[in-house]
Amino acid sequence: MREPMDDEYVKAAELVSKYIRGDISEEEYNELMDMAKKYPTLRSWIANQDLPLEEINKRLTDYQTINVEKEWQSVLEKYRHNTNRKTGHRTWWAVAASVLVICGVAGSFFLKKQKENRFAEKTQQVMEVAPGRTLATLTLSDGTVTVLEEEEERTVVDGQMTLSISGSTLDYSTAKNATVQHHKLHVPLGGTYHIQLADGTKVWLNADSELEFPSAFTGDERKVTVRGEAYFEVAKDATRPFRVQVGKTQVEALGTAFNINTHLYREKIKTILTEGKIKVSTPEDSKIIEPGYATISGNGNRNIEIGKADLEEALAWKEGYFYFNSKRLKEVLDDIARWYNVELDITIPLADKRYIGGIKKSESIAAVCAVLSDLTPYKITIVGKKLQVRE
């Protein structure tokens, strides 16, 4: 991004400014004259010392009214809103980075060790809170609700259509469709589910999420509706754009992979693009983003914000990890509560610190609590179906 030219430009601008002020040294003056040979625009500045004063005066007047401190506050606000913000304090970043190593890389081992040692007794009493299993419900066009269990092999029939279920995947791509049916896949707290749509598009649904879709795509677009968090791998079809409606936001893709999350921010929708290209639209705004970027849209925001994205955030959950990049403890706990289907019981104000890391979702909640108690200044325990956070 930096070109060597800029250093020279800054130097030239400083010299002209000094010249105008009249406190230029002879050496500097000679330097400026040399530069003027290279940059003709400097010559007009040197020749004509009369600045467009009224113009300068007008803007200077305006600049006097700018409250620089207030402007800095809005920079910080933008920065905090931004999805890819690392952290405000570098020192904290160093701590967070080591958390990533502990939880993310050596996570499983570390958690197991914790379980065997001092938490061996505690885990006994809390084992009834199992981590979420792959489990969902499918609502058929006639309103029939089918429960989809973990690791089952069977077929579901809706009218003339036969669907196959294998493991944790519902497959529409091989189903024979006589008519188009409207289906709804609901994943409750404590579950995740994977579905392949009629066009071959794969969708992973996270806990507490919902996908509405047709059993077959006809017409010139492929349209589905989502609530909660979902990761899409869209099958390529240049002639029929794939559109996802999320509240008032619409995401349009042509052969691409992205993650949509409405759980993260109050009323806000975050879309992370991992591959291809997408267009995110709201009634007021529309933006096209490239892979590695994310948008934030939704209530209260007229404009769609764009920021650099953390791809881990989009991918980790479907690989079976909680992943949090600089999330507040409350947000981490919300995710955990959603997965283990427990209630949060927090009686104290939580510090505004941020955490980076990952926890394998197959761990017991007691082990997760143990790790969090170690990493945070709080005592986090599971009592019945409640996750207690205490001083």
């Binding site: 250093d7 601008a13 400083e14 400014s17 002020r21 200077l60 402007e71």
Partner: protein, 181 residues
């Protein structure tokens, strides 16, 4: 030589360079609000950056100008796509000369702004009201809740201080004083 800057260090740079960078950016985009946004976004990006920024004072300055220029030019390119049908922005001739001119304006504004900022608070207020907002001495006196004589004294003092700070006095400052009074 390069290092990662802390939030506090970035804030110091912001306080120091915000105004000249806004002026610089204004010359490229020709819109106050967008110019402000562009400089703010540049600093947001700096905060986000974990990678290193140049630590040398001079290098930081040209880093900032470059970053703002790139953000502003990106904005214009994007704008051009949107305004394909309305050629409302006469921004086709953004060449190096114009960037250099913008930098000279920015540096000049910077000096004047700093000079006024360095005046005592009471003088600054009088400067702002009488010179920059075109208020008369009596209006300024009323707004400040002081006598006209105080305003006159403050003005005289400001001129002396500015003269000293921007000295040696050249035609520019003379015309400034003329415009101001």
């Amino acid at each position: 030589m390069d290092k990662v800057l802390t939030e506090t260090q970035i804030k110091i740079l912001f306080e120091q360079y915000y105004i000249p960078l806004v002026e610089f950016s204004w010359h490229i985009v020709k819109c106050r609000e967008i110019a402000l946004d562009i400089v703010q976004d540049t600093f947001v990006k700096m905060l986000e950056k974990v990678e290193e920024l140049p630590s040398h004072e001079k290098a930081i300055k040209s880093y900032l100008y470059t970053a703002v220029r790139n953000t502003a030019l990106n904005y214009i390119r994007h704008q051009k796509v949107q305004d394909e049908y309305h050629q409302i922005n006469p921004l086709n001739e953004i060449d190096d000369a114009r960037i250099l001119d913008a930098m000279i304006y920015a540096e000049t504004i910077h000096n004047l702004y700093k000079a006024i900022e360095s005046l005592p608070k009471s003088c600054q207020e009088v400067c702002r009201l009488t010179w920059l907002e075109g208020k008369s001495n009596s209006e300024a006196a009323e707004l400040c809740g002081v006598s006209i004589n105080t305003i006159k004294t403050q003005k005289r003092r400001s001129v002396e201080l500015l003269r000293h700070r921007l000295a040696p006095v050249v035609s520019v400052l003379k015309s400034f004083v003329l415009i101001f009074f």
